[in-house]
Symmetry: D2
């Protein structure tokens, strides 16, 4: 617990909104093996509850299939890939946070697309057919997975309709209409299914006012509110990449917090608030995502985000992602916590460290978070401050001093470190020569270099507390676990006798 003992409000519970949801490249990618292997690793070592991605209804999923029979136009709704994707998610212990979109080509009113993989972002040619598509899809899910299960799956309507890239003309009225038709179609299947929106991008909170007004006026069902948060400035392009300025990390927390203020007094006020996407840069080709800086930058966001929202979903878990085309290099600035081939990035470890924290919150500060497990273990997450402006490289060392409670005579301490040198495969990769297609042996080295450094030791317990004096390197994020020593070494144990010496 930090020295000032400001933690008098404690013990309390550490909210795990950070693990509620994680983002993914378009859901069709879930058919891939590297994707599933990556997700399996993620679930084993971190364990998210939900996963959210685009493109459930896009052409690659093959859902909307018009045909002609005896002169009549009909539509077959087909779930060959939808089932394969969802079966895979559930088998891996994660549930879908469904996003309904984009528009099937043959149902679209226009041909504007987004991304290399061409998601159609125009309103439906027929809202009736769209409603039938939604109903058919949701009904199929209920049939296959059971109503109790599907009631736990949030259903979000579209993605970032406030941006022209994602919704033709960013037409707000057209979005409201789509939302209304969709929400009713969902509730026709079952009134307890959860539907929500408007999934807006940062800087458009005024859409919330009008969304609240609209659903109120038209009595449209809404079960949760969603928006996105990013902290990067405009893209400075280089081939196969961009650079961007970043706002301080607190800016993300502000973005998480703003809707609650905004929707006070509206019918949305009491609803769950989901930040259904967040990251530093919104670009899948910004190398900042691959760095130790990034983990240290996001650490305070993950530590405090749960104060402001019911979830905040890291965009995305894997570099298996194709919005800007197929990546041309192992490290390429992708959003992923993992690269292709499952090399862990520093931010992966930030999440894994959080997964090692306890439920009981003992203390929280600008550079640390302290929790306790039911079995008495105390875990500390600490991080070095970063300079997001880039004006300085950040301090090359940073000291965190804490005193944590422990019921024992001595404590075993175990520390894992991620920084510029450790748990940082990108550094090794650069030293190798930045091989775009690493050979198998190089991949082995990268997997090895991606593991955090580990240390352990034993510390005294005085007056029921262990003093921790942690020196952090530049951009370090560290997990420290303190546990009670129960000494079982027998009285005859004597290291001096290992080579046959006399007893000491």
């Amino acid at each position: 617990m930090s020295p000032g003992r400001e933690g008098s409000r404690f013990p309390s519970r550490f909210p795990d909104a950070w693990r509620h949801c994680v983002g993914t490249g378009r859901v069709e990618l879930a058919l891939r093996r590297d994707y599933q292997d990556s997700l399996a690793l993620l679930q084993r070592e971190i364990g998210f509850r939900y996963i959210r991605g685009h493109g459930l209804l896009s052409d690659g999923m093959g859902v909307y299939r018009p045909y002609e029979w005896q002169g009549e136009r009909r539509v077959r709704h087909s779930f060959t890939y939808v089932d394969q994707v969802l079966d895979a998610y559930l088998a891996l212990g994660i549930r879908p946070f469904l996003e309904l979109g984009f528009m099937p080509g043959e149902l679209a009113s226009g041909d504007q697309t987004v991304f290399w993989w061409r998601g159609n972002v125009t309103p439906p040619r027929s809202h009736k057919e769209w409603a039938e598509l939604v109903r058919a899809t949701v009904s199929h899910l209920v049939d296959r997975y059971g109503l109790d299960e599907v009631r736990t799956w949030p259903i979000e309507v579209w993605n970032e309709p406030n941006l022209r890239d994602f919704w033709q003309d960013a037409d707000e009225q057209a979005y409201h209409r789509l939302y209304e038709v969709t929400a009713h179609a969902v509730k026709e299947v079952d009134s307890e299914l959860q539907v929500g929106g408007p999934a807006i991008s940062p800087g458009a909170d005024e859409w919330l006012d009008r969304f609240a007004e609209f659903v109120d006026r038209r009595d449209v069902p809404v079960d949760f509110v969603s928006k996105h948060a990013y902290s990067s400035g405009p893209a400075q392009h280089v081939p196969f990449g961009v650079h961007q300025t970043l706002a301080p990390a607190t800016d993300l927390l502000t973005q998480f917090a703003s809707p609650r203020e905004r929707i006070k007094g509206t019918p949305l006020a009491e609803l769950p608030l989901h930040i259904t996407e967040f990251n530093s840069s919104y670009r899948p080709d910004n190398p900042i995502h691959d760095t130790a800086f990034h983990a240290a930058y996001l650490a305070p966001v993950l530590a405090a985000g749960g104060d402001h929202a019911d979830s905040f979903s890291y965009w995305t878990f894997s570099d298996m992602f194709e919005e800007a085309g197929v990546p041309t290099s192992l490290f390429h600035g992708g959003f992923g916590l993992l690269t292709h081939r499952q090399v862990k990035k520093p931010t992966y470890h930030l999440y894994a460290f959080l997964a090692g924290m306890g439920d009981e919150l003992l203390a929280r500060g600008d550079d640390h978070l302290v929790t306790r497990h039911p079995d008495g273990r105390v875990t500390v997450l600490a991080w070095a401050p970063v300079d997001a402006s880039g004006a300085t490289p950040g301090p090359d060392r940073h000291v965190v001093r804490l005193s944590v409670p422990m019921r024992a005579g001595e404590a075993f301490v175990r520390r894992s470190t991620v920084d510029e040198e450790h748990g940082n495969a990108r550094t090794a990769w650069q030293r190798m020569g930045s091989p775009r297609s690493p050979r198998p042996h190089q991949l082995d080295v990268l997997h090895e270099a991606a593991e955090p450094a580990r240390r352990h030791g034993r510390l005294p317990v005085e007056d029921g507390r262990v003093a921790l004096d942690l020196t952090l390197a530049r951009h370090e994020v560290t997990l420290v676990e303190v546990s009670a020593v129960v000494e079982e070494a027998p009285e005859w144990a004597d290291e001096q006798r290992l080579l046959g010496g006399r007893p000491t």
Copy 2:
């Protein structure tokens, strides 16, 4: 051995050209998990040597990547997915039979595409850049996988250039030019790499004459000759499917055999001949592929095809195939030996039965094939005759009588059966109601119904021979294994005493 003992030329070796190669949907699909699981099953139970599919250079693989830097146009050749695909193949014990195509969109001279997934089928805008692409690709493979390995990978230039759908205007001269440029680019990397073509579709053997003349005249390297074979008539469309007439199976053998005749006396005469695609119907939505009829129809082709060609590659191993879009139903007439989710079709079992045959050919007839293993086991593949015209349903029973050699006093006989009722998940699926998206429990039932019926028994050996009297049901394909009994039952073994009765 068949009664007429026409087999006096025997014993000889049974050629395994049938397992040399198998086809696949576009190679990008190899990134998928269902695909890899299916291929793993195939390799475990059958074991092909090579796999061939389209689209290695198509946009989905992300290989050809032009960009601009400081005002200059450059190209990055990127192998992110190529490596993932080939690593997967090699890990599963199968090698690529490389097919170079289709044209990257940004290198193409036109925008004509083929298939739902839009493979560009126009010549390169720049043959120089195409040659660089080929060289870069082959060099990368040699770097990553080693020269000795890559020398074993045939490299075929394009696919079915004689068809307008696959090569703009089916322009023969343009193909010759592409072939020449490509062959030289390959040989520049290493002169012992194997390059070939022209990968023509059925009914265009005259292309072989001109291809032979061309490579001879221009002294263009060529290491093998390839063509395709299909036996179906024109498509009669229904929604999500077609029906077609079929020629008798012997027509396929004629197609396999014709090039050898044609290229006699040309420089191609002594080269390996690969039938790089064959099937009954050339359509991925013809339900005939899913039937017991299909296995019985192809049985004589697999039994004799090796007399005519060095390989004949079944098109394709899995229904994970998207040329006509995402399949809308589990059974949909796909080419696959396996459906999505790895339900085995009757033709899968035909291949698996062949994989159980021995190397020594004892006899072969119109309805049977008899081989022997080094350990003395004799295996018989027998099949019912089919009526490919559809005029009759084919005989409802067919008797095959054989006498096979066996050194033992008695023989253990084991028989596996695939017919309309057994080893036939499609029949079960139809009885269930043809569920397009089967539930998990239904998939379990289908996997169960897909297994052949199994019987066993003991037969006497007389004068060193076992008489087999096999009655086959309609469209049955059966594998019979005969092995020597070495009796180890002790003299006190007595079934009459199982319930405590007196010794007999």
Copy 3:
């Protein structure tokens, strides 16, 4: 439901006492791989809750370890193997039904042993040290696995103390003393842990009277009552085997039922009753265990046993069992549901069939059991009557006619069969020549021959019922599953057009 509709008391719940517990060879064997692979298969396809075996405290487990230090005798309690065994059980989803025994050699008062593996069956030299051993063991389990978990593990004191082979002199007073000391030692760790006994062998129910009297008089804790049931007569020895007469299967049900009667009015009356071992023969070398007869013989016992006891535990799940030494042949009359190498015996399938039954009991008769699943599927288990006297081979066919409810126009019916020819690897093994150490290829054939025969079909539904007319072969056990057909075949589906014929 059976025609007489005697089932008016229905619907009710089918008790699953049959899956509550299963027996195992001495628990040390759980360290083995074949054992763990077998248990994994069992849990995947059947799913038992508890597993019970001998020898937790025997020398092979290395628990009780006296030593001398500075002239003083001390004891180390060591759990190296105990932890490995229990970790394996829990990882496989099964909990231990702990049996405390046999006596560690260095704590024993005598040197009488039982079995090839020499379990010491004499009372402790020191009841104080025994109590310390029990306390240390149970405390360790609570520490490692948590109190909530261990409270669900029944703890049984010793095994068959009424037999001289298992308890020196079958000394009843000595057993009472052991029970008392043990029960108190367990309760000292936690008063809600469950302890019980007396684990008597068949034919000794009078021990229950005195056990009840004893615990009452001395106020000794007891949480459950246990006994064993076997139906075989005396052993007629042959080398590596025995033959025995069997009582009718109903005799087992009588044995299950008798304690309830006996303990009425005693303090044991309301306690759970566990049949902690049952089988036909009590010998691990009686080939009857390997037969189809055995499955049909036990079918009515499994169908009705839950009426009489809270559990009845099949002795044992695997032939990995060494009481009579290492088996000298793959099939050797072992207790196992599975042989070494995991070949399934007919009785395995009987259990797997039961695992496919629903919770709702629709009907039960002398030759059948009918249940329904929540999703409407109706499952029927039917079995042929057997002649346990061996006087006749049993009927060679037996007809079961049932009418079962189904809400649909048509029903899909799936049937699995185990009899002398099917699902019966022993028959195949005998035909092969009874190879004691089958080669790998022979093991493959045996695994194949061990699978039940499968059939499927479609039946009409009339007045909400499907008529089933099941003909069973000699010693057949069959599982029939009836489910509703939801017809999705499109109107253009036409089998007559498969070969391009005209529409019908």
Copy 4:
């Protein structure tokens, strides 16, 4: 290459006698899952060719099974477990180095046993029956695994017959007789099977003289010579453990080398020499085996042992070993490279480091070994000197300076370290309190602590050489891999722009 360039004899080949064979606890333990999982890990990361252990014919394997039938005594030879053990070895890619022994209880002439698990060490009651047992066993292996395979399996006769504990009265003549009978029995099965001995313990090389004389005089077949090597002094007992003095490591090399000298001029002179067991201490409860000291102590032995013998087999790969009973603590001084539960010890890493070396020997010195791979990578194994006398703790730092060849402008360097703090789970375990039965979470921590520390960097290449300046900690063993950098970072790569700064 070391500075003195004494390596003028180089390049030459680095002999891999170190990986030819590894020891195991009695072969029956190979039935266990932890054993097989450990061996799988070992084979994946190190890769031995052969495995040798005691007890193939001991009672636990159930091979020799006399019985009576119709008044006559007969013997059944049974291979139930032999097959399971050997199938497991071969499936894991390792072959058996067969050791014939100990004596089946019912064939033994006496009842003297060795070890907690009671291996009978007396001569056979009947040499005829022993010969039949050997013939039956070897014939069975040839039948099951094929003659070509079994000819590659060395067959050693008995173990350490020169010790009274292992062979009654250490009776040399009785051993010669046993050897003669056995060798002939083996050769009767096939004359090209390899048989050898005398498997003597250290300090008994005079047995070799008489063995040579004996086989020569009696014309007894012998295909290889075997002996053992250990470097520890007498045992100083503490409960559950011992301490011993150790001779310097060179003493082991002397022991490896001595037989070649001894058998010069005898018929044994040209035969392969196998050190079929070696270690520091011959005790399975000496904690020295678990230490970093031990890896550094043995490093020069592994680096040079191949100069003296065709193999030297580390005794043993796993702590799954029961000669002194079931271990009572995770770390207990066992021989294993791995503890139970597969925690890697420092000596495991020494072997894994060697497995990462190349075939080409560039240099070798007192504290280092330098090799090159075909792809140009150079690997260095370096180790700190140790003080085996225990008089001093050994130097706390040690510098190794090397210059290694590299064709590139810059080199990527990767270093793995094992010492008192790193790659050393025992240190972590002691700090935890030496928990005898670690909880699952503690096991996770131990697995983590058992991994070597990893570093990487980039070094300049000057005049085709990289200067390495390695500082080693006390008892450190380190692997350094140097590889060429092929720089692929594009010209626009600029770390200064990560946060949107201006290009540098």
